[in-house]
């Protein structure tokens, strides 16, 4: 008699209710499946450039580790401690960026359910919207509406069909020159600097490349320039020059690049090895963060 009384006490039911609620919340946050929206569907269709970084990959762990150390070191006392504890939770699985229009796609999986309210509370300066386990960030909310409303195949879903295998790489990028957007961009840069860096750009349909890291300091990759008309002679000379320019641009940051340009049917490719990326990324980001404070 006595025990059934306890069983029916309101306190008991409040505790049970809270426990169930907490359990349900935990299941919803960490176990309940979340829709996986393909990366390629979220890239704004008008963008001509996209680059993606798989932050959860084994290869990137060395760079991420150094980066975490540097960022935590820059943040004072308790904030630094909080950041260190929450870093693994806040670290996205993948970050993808597009250019013209500029947008950032942050893929976090189920954690998005907890992170999204935090973004709302933090007074984040960009417009954002969740798509399954990803958040799309952009300057204007109209771009988010456009992506949400898009149905059927777009420029980037088609690219995903051809270059989807790149998603298995640590970092990759794709530039689409199908509508001449890359040509236009290169020409405006050439006019600005009065320098013919890439005169054969019109012959290029797509540029795609990737890097895979081994340890924190060494990576290998390939960049392929696909030709529209199959004529790769002029393009080869340009790719060699671009490779030389990138090598010389990276050196002051302590990054060593060594590569080889090869011609294949319909494409010119640069196979390369790269060293010193982790330290360079940490140095550049640290100086940006310090100067921004």
């Amino acid at each position: 008699m006595r025990s059934s009384f306890r069983f029916r006490s309101p306190k008991f039911w409040i505790i049970v209710g809270l426990g169930v609620l907490f359990l349900a919340l935990a299941v919803w946050l960490f176990v309940w499946p979340i829709e996986h929206v393909p990366l390629w569907r979220l890239v704004p269709s008008e963008a001509f450039f996209m680059a993606s970084f798989d932050l959860s990959s084994q290869g990137m762990s060395g760079i991420i580790g150094k980066l975490e150390e540097a960022i935590v070191g820059l943040v004072p006392s308790w904030k630094g401690f909080f950041l260190k504890v929450s870093f693994p939770f806040l670290l996205p699985n993948r970050i993808t960026m597009s250019h013209r229009p500029n947008a950032i796609i942050v893929e976090m999986g189920r954690r998005i359910r907890a992170v999204k309210p935090l973004i709302g509370l933090s007074g984040f300066p960009l417009a954002y919207r969740a798509f399954g386990g990803s958040i799309l960030l952009a300057r204007s909310s109209s771009l988010l509406e456009e992506v949400a409303g898009s149905r059927g195949p777009s420029r980037w879903t088609r690219m995903g069909g051809s270059f989807g295998r790149l998603e298995g790489r640590d970092c990759f990028f794709v530039v689409d020159n199908g509508d001449g957007a890359l040509s236009e961009f290169v020409r405006s840069m050439e006019e600005r600097y009065e320098f013919a860096a890439f005169p054969s750009v019109d012959a290029v349909s797509v540029v795609a490349g990737y890097v895979d890291f081994e340890g924190e300091d060494f990576g290998r990759g390939r960049i392929s320039f696909f030709c529209k008309d199959g004529n790769s002679d002029r393009l080869r000379s340009d790719v060699r020059f671009i490779y030389g320019a990138i090598r010389r641009k990276l050196r002051p940051y302590g990054v060593g690049l060594k590569g080889r340009v090869e011609t294949e049917p319909g494409a010119v490719s640069l196979d390369f090895k790269v060293e010193g990326v982790a330290d360079a990324v940490v140095r550049v980001l640290s100086s940006r963060i310090s100067s921004g404070r």
């Binding site: 320098f195 013919a196 020059f241 320019a245 641009k249 050196r251 002051p252």
Partner: protein, 296 residues
């Protein structure tokens, strides 16, 4: 006969501009025939008469020197030596070069006028038919020391460079990389521009170049890179190739016709080049200031 005697007297009394350039310099460029050679005289004259009128341009326009050397030292300081002129420099033009309160000191056979003002130059001296203009007084004193067998021309590497250039040029450039002087200079530019110019800079012994300014539209020349070790020759070649490509691409954008070729001979890499339709580019360069391109 009297003309020969006069010429002999001149050769004994006057010194060449390079005699005053100390072997401590990092790089030196010498133009010979600025008053006689068709192409070079056009080039120097156009530079001297391009507005805005600044004291050094006015001076060159007035005295029309036939030989000019510009030396850059590891500290970034500069010495200009003008020689074999048509008209003697006027004192007021010389004083305009070094604004501020003036003073005079004697050093060896030289009388050096210097100023305490802030300007590109702060000292000058006339010596044996040459006018020396320096960023500071010490450089002019060093120039007097250089005449005692310590000029850049006495360097083994300078003679070696002259031997490798083969072709006669109106303009000769020499960069000395002993003790990594030239590499350090490039490193300063690298920090400024966040871009390496020569990846193999540490592996070079010296760099030389000669340019024949055929006329206002055409130049031909060669750039010679001496590797300090045969093992690095491919790296040096890569730099020469890149330099040639950079010229080509700059020239394409400016409507200049360019052709170039890189050869390797032992420990030396040679970039031969020829360019046509250059006049608009020269004018643009003069308007923006040539020195702005080479100062770190």
């Amino acid at each position: 006969m009297s003309i020969i005697l006069f010429a002999l007297m001149l050769s004994v009394g006057n010194a060449g501009t390079l005699d005053f350039v100390s072997d401590r310099c990092m790089a030196v460029v010498t133009a010979r025939g600025a008053a006689r050679d068709v192409g070079l005289s056009w080039l120097v004259d156009s530079w001297a008469h391009t507005p805005p009128e600044v004291p050094i341009r006015k001076l060159v326009a007035d005295i029309e020197p036939d030989e000019v050397s510009l030396a850059i030292f590891p500290s970034g300081k500069m010495l200009v030596v003008l020689g074999a002129w048509k008209g003697k420099p006027k004192t007021r033009d010389l004083e305009a070069l070094i604004p501020g309160a003036l003073g005079v000191v004697r050093y060896k056979e030289m009388e050096i006028t210097f100023s305490t003002g802030e300007g590109a130059f702060s000292a000058y001296s006339l010596c044996r038919g040459n006018l020396l203009i320096g960023t500071d007084r010490k450089l002019i004193e060093e120039a007097a020391d250089a005449r005692e067998g310590r000029s850049v021309e006495h360097l083994r590497s300078y003679s070696e460079m002259e031997g490798n250039l083969v072709q006669e040029g109106d303009i000769i450039f020499f960069a000395d990389n002993r003790n990594q002087k030239f590499a350090e200079f490039l490193r300063a530019l690298e920090d400024k521009w966040k871009m390496s110019l020569l990846l193999s800079a540490d592996r070079l012994e010296w760099v030389g170049a000669c340019v024949d300014v055929v006329d206002q539209d055409r130049v031909k020349g060669r750039v010679v890179f001496k590797s300090s070790d045969g093992r690095y020759i491919e790296d040096v070649r890569d730099d020469a190739d890149f330099l040639g490509e950079t010229f080509k691409r700059k020239f394409i954008a400016e409507g200049v016709v360019y052709s170039g070729h890189v050869d390797v001979k032992g420990e030396v890499v040679v970039l031969r080049f020829e360019a046509e339709r250059l006049e608009p580019l020269w004018r643009k360069l003069f308007e923006r200031g040539v020195l702005s391109l080479i100062r770190p």
